[in-house]
């Protein structure tokens, strides 16, 4: 799309510019040649688009008018850009109070309809060509000023500008060194687009008789003169109308499609080649009778595969943790378990809930047996709806309850999770972060969930609140036997709350172990991860353990073991062959197992 509209725009602009250069030379004379015998004629073979009141050829006049029309638009844009960018950049060099005042003025000016502003500015500047150019220039300034201000304010909020200010860089230098370079691109592009709007605006003013006056003529003036004749010879208006459309649309399209191209982040390959991901041998699926069973789950987006053959099970009433750093694929795994992977993600493998494929379950079954909790409780509740009715929905939609009894159930569930029932009438923003997360959990309890999938449920919360929310989940688990899949980047959170932990790295499960065995983990990654977490009894005399390098992005996971480049135990085997998942670990050179009492894996 953007290439198409950019191409069309470029073609239109090219035609316009060529005509602007050659127009007056080629058709200039014909355009002003009086012919008293053929005034006000319609279409004929001599005059395709008819003649005006002086018998002058309309087609020739249209083509010859290109130069003046484009030139005036250019001047108006120049005025608008100078005024607008200066005004918009002014707050950046003023003190806070001056900045606020100027910003308020800009916001006020933007509210004035552009054409009206242009008309009155033209009136003040004197009607005629000058008035029109100044008018359109002045009228386009507020929009550019606001754009400049918005962009500049965005950059000024960035930490690097704060850092520069602390290093003693002056306001003007911050503007030229940090702000302008970061906003120049969108600014230049919108100035290009505003060239198109200036052209159309000038044509409008001339059409209204407020612009170019005879004997000069631009497209708008030609339209003005031809307009009364549209009822008799509609074709006489076609020339200038088409010319305005071609040039105006051309410039706007070029400016806007370039701006879009610049604003758009590189698009991820949509229909790229599906990467062929070796599945390897995954953990054995859970025991039969598992509540949740995931087999060879793979999630891919075009050519990128963030989840690569994940298998695990959750027994009824069990709390299982998935731990991994950002980019490990843990959150997508959670979404896939919930059947919520967004388009165009492709999910392969199988997810069974109570032995039945997720896809075969009805909406109501899924909506009542599976609960999801996400990271940011503010975003997870609809800001426009009261909390109670948001919860009650599940009751009316899936359980066939009346609104009243659904609401009563909602209040009961809120109280069950420690939210005072009266808060059911509150809007989400009136609750604290912890309360909101409780409300989200209460929402999941509206049905009779067998499994709660909680993706970083406490990451956005304070430590003391985090603890209480985790306690709540544990209490629900203990009281109702609701199983949970707890996903977190925090290995301590997972280990303190789960019986079993799955460690993910670069889209795969690399180790599965009881959470009390984390300190004696066998996979080098798990070990290093555990060692790098500072705890309340870390030895302060020693440097903290770290893992060199970084986890590979989903798009460039290497062949073999993905952890090999960061691993001290890696051999050439590790970089070529994918380690199979055997007896709880996917590693060619695992650490020795330290036997634990009463536990035997094979």
């Amino acid at each position: 799309m953007r290439t198409l509209s950019a191409r069309v725009g470029l073609a239109l602009v090219a035609v316009t510019l060529v005509l602007a250069v050659v127009g007056p030379w080629v058709w200039g004379e014909e355009a002003v040649r009086f012919d008293p015998l053929h005034t006000l004629e319609g279409h004929s073979s001599a005059h395709w688009l008819g003649t005006d009141d002086g018998g002058r050829d309309m087609l020739a006049r249209t083509l010859a008018a290109t130069r003046l029309s484009v030139w005036l638009a250019f001047l108006a844009t120049l005025i608008g850009a100078c005024l607008g960018v200066t005004l918009g950049a002014l707050p950046s060099v003023l003190g806070p109070r001056g900045a606020r005042a100027v910003t308020a003025v800009i916001n006020g000016l933007v509210a004035i309809p552009v054409l009206l502003l242009a008309m009155f500015a033209a009136l003040v500047a004197g009607t005629g060509t000058t008035g029109a150019v100044v008018g359109i220039g002045v009228a386009s300034a507020p929009g550019l000023a606001r754009l400049t201000r918005t962009l500049a304010a965005g950059v000024e909020g960035a930490d690097y500008v704060l850092a520069a200010r602390m290093l003693g860089t002056g306001r003007l230098r911050v503007l030229t060194r940090h702000v302008l370079p970061n906003i120049a691109e969108p600014l230049i592009l919108s100035v290009t687009a505003s060239l198109g709007y200036a052209l159309l605006g000038l044509a409008t003013l001339s059409l209204l008789g407020l612009g170019v006056r005879p004997p000069e003529y631009d497209w708008g003036r030609l339209l003005h003169d031809a307009l009364p004749r549209v009822y008799v010879d509609p074709e006489v208006i076609a020339g200038p109308a088409l010319a305005v459309a071609v040039a105006g649309i051309g410039f706007t399209l070029v400016g806007e499609s370039l701006a879009r191209a610049a604003a758009r982040a590189p698009v991820p390959p949509g229909d790229g080649e599906e990467a062929d991901v070796p599945l390897g041998r995954s953990p054995r699926p859970g025991p039969s009778g598992a509540l949740l069973e995931v087999r060879d789950l793979t999630v891919s987006f075009g050519g990128v595969t963030p989840v690569r053959g994940v298998s695990f099970g959750v027994a009824p009433g069990e709390v299982v943790g998935i731990v991994g750093e950002s980019g490990s694929g843990k959150s997508l795994t959670a979404l896939a378990v919930g059947g919520l992977v967004p388009y165009p993600g492709r999910v392969r493998g199988s997810v069974l809930l109570e032995g039945r494929p997720l896809l075969s379950l009805s909406r109501s079954e899924l909506g009542t047996r599976l609960a999801m909790v996400f990271q940011d409780p503010m975003a997870a509740l609809n800001p426009a709806l009261r909390v109670g009715p948001q919860l009650a929905e599940t009751g009316t939609v899936h359980l066939g309850l009346t609104r009243r009894s659904a609401l009563a159930r909602a209040v009961a569930r809120l109280e069950r999770t420690g939210v005072p029932g009266a808060r059911a009438r509150a809007h989400p923003h009136e609750l604290s972060g912890g309360m909101r997360q409780r409300a989200v959990i209460a929402m999941g309890l509206m049905g009779d969930p067998r499994l709660i999938v909680a993706d970083e449920p406490t990451t956005a919360l304070d430590a003391t609140v985090q603890r209480r929310v985790l306690d709540l989940l544990a209490e629900i688990n203990a009281a109702s036997g609701t199983a949970a899949l707890l996903i977190s980047h925090d290995i301590a959170v997972v280990s303190s709350r789960c019986s079993r932990v799955l460690v993910m790295y670069a889209g795969r499960i690399v180790e599965e172990l009881p959470s009390d065995a984390l300190r004696s983990a066998r996979h080098p990654y798990t070990r290093a991860l555990v060692a790098s977490v500072p705890t309340l009894d870390t030895d302060r005399a020693e440097p903290l353990a770290t893992i060199p390098g970084a986890q590979p992005a989903p798009s460039d996971v290497p062949a073999g073991c993905a952890f090999a480049p960061r691993c001290a135990r890696a051999t050439s085997l590790c970089t070529t062959a994918l380690p199979a998942f055997e007896s709880g670990v996917a590693c060619h050179h695992p650490h020795e197992e330290r036997p634990r009492a009463g536990e035997e894996e094979w």
Partner: protein, 311 residues
């Protein structure tokens, strides 16, 4: 924003409009009376007219007299027809308001459902063809100026086919072309805006959670998305609706609509500064009122801003 601050800003902006309309007459280079009466008018006539208009008095006196007049509903007297400007405005304004309100309603009624529907069809880059058709059509409509559409419609629907009246305001049929021509651009832009906002909301966690709750699709859209999309759209779309006023001037001119726009153009062409002054005042006040109405509507739609205005 609190109610008090909103009211305060409205009053302050109105004051700005009054000052601007007053200043306009005095910013005109040279003598506006001379410009209005023409270079051949005798000097005594110009002086007499200046005295009549009070232009020979000190600036502050003139300003106070002007403000006093505005409060009494006296907007001065047309230079040309010598009719009170307020009377001309009262004659002409209703037709403009009818045109603009009809256009706004049409724009909202088409843009909101269309934008949401397209967003639903093209979420996360699916529905490439719908996307292409929508962006091309709205893109074209948003850059074609209203007067071209108007002239084109007059030529085709009015003159060639003779389906609709080509000019004047006379019954429902006479509204069709002006409203369509005026609505096309803003509708296209608004529909794009609605789509962008809907797409943004579709990516939010509460929609994900509503889907996790397995709510039926229509419930997700109408109950969960619509209020949020509308607030987001109106926040930026208010100015767009306001800009309709500018377009209405051209449309009135092309269709010889008996509104304020035509009168304003005539006033400017004929250098009837008093009437132009009155037009600035009226258009400014109407724009501000539209923006205030949008603000109030937002306050009603968005519980967060309601809370803020209580606080």
């Amino acid at each position: 924003m609190s109610r008090g601050r909103r009211a305060g800003r409205f009053v302050l902006s109105l004051g700005g409009v009054v000052v601007a309309s007053f200043a306009m007459l005095h910013l005109i280079p040279g003598d506006p009376v001379r410009a209005a009466l023409g270079p051949t008018a005798p000097r005594e006539a110009v002086e007499r007219r200046r005295a009549e208009l009070g232009l020979d008095r000190p600036l502050l006196d003139q300003f106070l007299a002007y403000v006093g007049g505005v409060f009494r509903g006296d907007l001065g007297e047309s230079f040309l027809s010598r009719r009170p400007a307020a009377e001309i405005v009262a004659d002409r304004l209703p037709a403009t308001v009818q045109l603009v309100v009809a256009t706004m309603l049409l724009a909202l009624a088409v843009a909101v459902p269309l934008g949401m529907w397209v967003a639903a069809r093209t979420e996360n880059g699916r529905g490439r063809r719908t996307d292409l058709a929508f962006t091309t059509t709205t893109g074209a409509l948003s850059v074609i100026p209203e007067f071209l559409l108007a002239v084109g419609m007059v030529a085709v629907l009015g003159v060639t086919l003779g389906w609709l009246p080509v000019a004047g305001k006379d019954g429902a049929a006479s509204f069709v072309m002006p409203v369509l021509a005026l609505a096309a651009g803003p509708t296209a832009l608004l529909a794009r805006l609605v789509r962008v906002e809907t797409l943004r909301e579709l990516g939010s966690d509460y929609v994900r959670l509503a889907r996790a709750k397995r709510l039926p699709t229509h419930r997700v859209y109408f109950r969960h998305l619509l209020p949020n999309t509308l607030t987001a759209t109106l926040t930026t779309g208010g100015l767009l609706l306001c800009s309709l006023l500018g377009g209405s001037v051209v449309i009135e001119y092309v269709f010889q609509w008996p509104g304020l726009g035509g009168a304003t153009v005539d006033a400017i062409v004929n250098k009837d500064y008093a009437l132009a002054q009155a037009a600035v005042l009226v258009y400014g006040t109407v724009s501000l009122t539209v923006l205030l109405a949008v603000d109030v509507a937002l306050g009603l739609l968005d519980p967060r801003s309601a809370l803020r205005s209580r606080g």
